[in-house]
Amino acid sequence: MLNTLLSGDRPRSLVLTALLLGVLISLAFAPFLFPGVRSLETAATICIFILLVASYDLLLGYTGIVSFAHTMFFGLGAYGVALASTHVGRGWGALALGTLAGALAAAVLALVIGLFSLRVRAIFFAMITLAVASAVAVLVSQLYQLTGGEDGLTYRIPRELTPAFRLGEVFGVRITGKILNYYLIFFCCLALFLLLLRVVNSPFGRVLQAVRENDFRAEAIGYRVVYYRITATCLSAAVAALAGSLYAIWLRYVGPDTTLSFEIMLDILLMVVIGGMGTMYGAVLGAVIFVLAQNYLQNLMGVAADAATGLPLLPELLDPNRWLLWLGVLFILSVYYFPAGIVGRLRAGR
């Protein structure tokens, strides 16, 4: 049963199993284990980023394609929900419509970009996605009548998913719509994550890895490499859009900074590399570590910077705003020395 759920792709390391179980239990019981608004926000963000990073891993780790448009697809899903909720009106139908439209738009756009770039050279893809994603980001901030521009959009979602909706108490925790909303996100992310795990362990996933290892050889054996790459791109984009829709349902707000920015793209890259490319479980660890670090490490850096006051250069280097510097260094070192990331290390050290 468990084996079927995981598509036969077990963690293959005791420590990794323990960590994954820890994450699963913490997230599954987050409202009860860590009561409070901020920790619930963190838990929901972690859920969504696990899914987002896992969908990126399908592309980067399993197919060997670098995309800089993953936030664009994420944003398409988010804006889909936002626009549908704004124009169709508050309701479940709007959420479904927005989610579907977002995922479909993402898949179609991925198909078009894929046809243009993957057909010639996989390396074009990285450059073209970067260009298209930034153009879309600029467009979104310019078309403010439609998108709210830099301010973004706030909208109303079904009352059952908001804090105003009360259900009663369980274990001393008041069950509100916000908690229902959390569980909607948790279970959707879990299901989609398991689906991705299924995809990478299917025959399709095996071909993807063969293409990644040696595209020339895969082509020679008779696989249409372009077809597999483009399909993976579309699938990855659609799942990213679904993650975006969930994010929009959770936040009840979308804006360029929360969904489309290049910073988030870098975050995703860091998460997938640090967690471990091509492992899916790496997405879980990468996202958990990163989101926690983002929320709590910056405070630590602030303390360190204060402690270093008076020393030359050190306070500037330790300034909480410079935390990307350290992540960048960590990123380069991981690519060099731990190309399989944390998961690869754990599995190797079994």
């Binding site: 243009f116 450059m127 600029v138 690519v335």
Partner: protein, 343 residues
Amino acid sequence: MSVAPDHTPRMERLRPAERLGQAAPYLLVPVLVLLGWLAIGSPSSWLTLTVSGLAMGMMIFVMASGLTLVFGLMDVINFGHGAFISLGAFLGISVLLALPGWTAADSLALNLTAVLLAIAVAMVLTGLVGWGFERVIVRPVYGAHLKQILVTVGGLIVIEQLIHVIWGPDEIFLTRPEALKGAVTFAGAALEKYRILAVGFGLVIFVAMRLVLRRTKIGLIVRAGVQNGEMVETLGYRLRLVFIGVFIAGSALAGLGGVMWALYQEVITAGMGERMMILVFIVVIIGGLGSVEGAFIGALLVGLLQNYVAFLEPKLALVSNIGLMTAILMWRPQGMMPVVKAK
């Protein structure tokens, strides 16, 4: 490897259609200028826009030229190239800000000396940083595109953040030296002096680069290396040294582009290089990876189109470049003038 069947020489026997195909990329620029004239209507606005489009194109070309050669020569794609643009801008502008007496003086000689000094400092230092970047960041990941992209993006983040550490988190505003302020009027159109200078300067760089590539032995080695590096080594040339030289020169040119762009925009931020990279990538793709001429034409097209569209329909300026890229890739999937790899 099969050899084409032997027959009488094909030389001098290109059919008109083939000749047109070869010349087509060169014709695109005048065609676009003409289309701009038709669409804009007002000759003076058209002239102003054309000059600023050409100026922008020249600056993008300066930034893109090194990138395309580095790719062509060693199959290295450097996503960190934008960091050299930002770095060059900050270094050059620091020099200018340190010389207020020279830039504010009402003397063309002093003004230009200050600018040239700023350019020299920026180019030398970004070249040196480029050298280090090649050794530390790029060299360990030869032959692995995926790692190259990831690691050079990492390098981009680190350099950008270091710029913040050194120069502070805020953008820096500047004014151009006295002699480069203002505009001249020509045929009823106001043409900014600096833009005219930028066009001239970009042309000089392009011509100089072409001369080096066509008329010097090192240029021949670079062009041959872009096509077939193994054969260049077989003839006895150390391609690695040539590559390092090109990487340093490309970084220095990115730094130069950064200074030019800073004087154009009159404001610098650590993220400016990263934003410019989007246009640089479009230019390199539509020009054909590895082709300096292609990058030049591509850059002019992007600069002109961006300015024309910004005038006609401001919101579509950046999108128009994506449209241009799409159109050109539909026409020539490898870009306008791809370098034929003879392997």
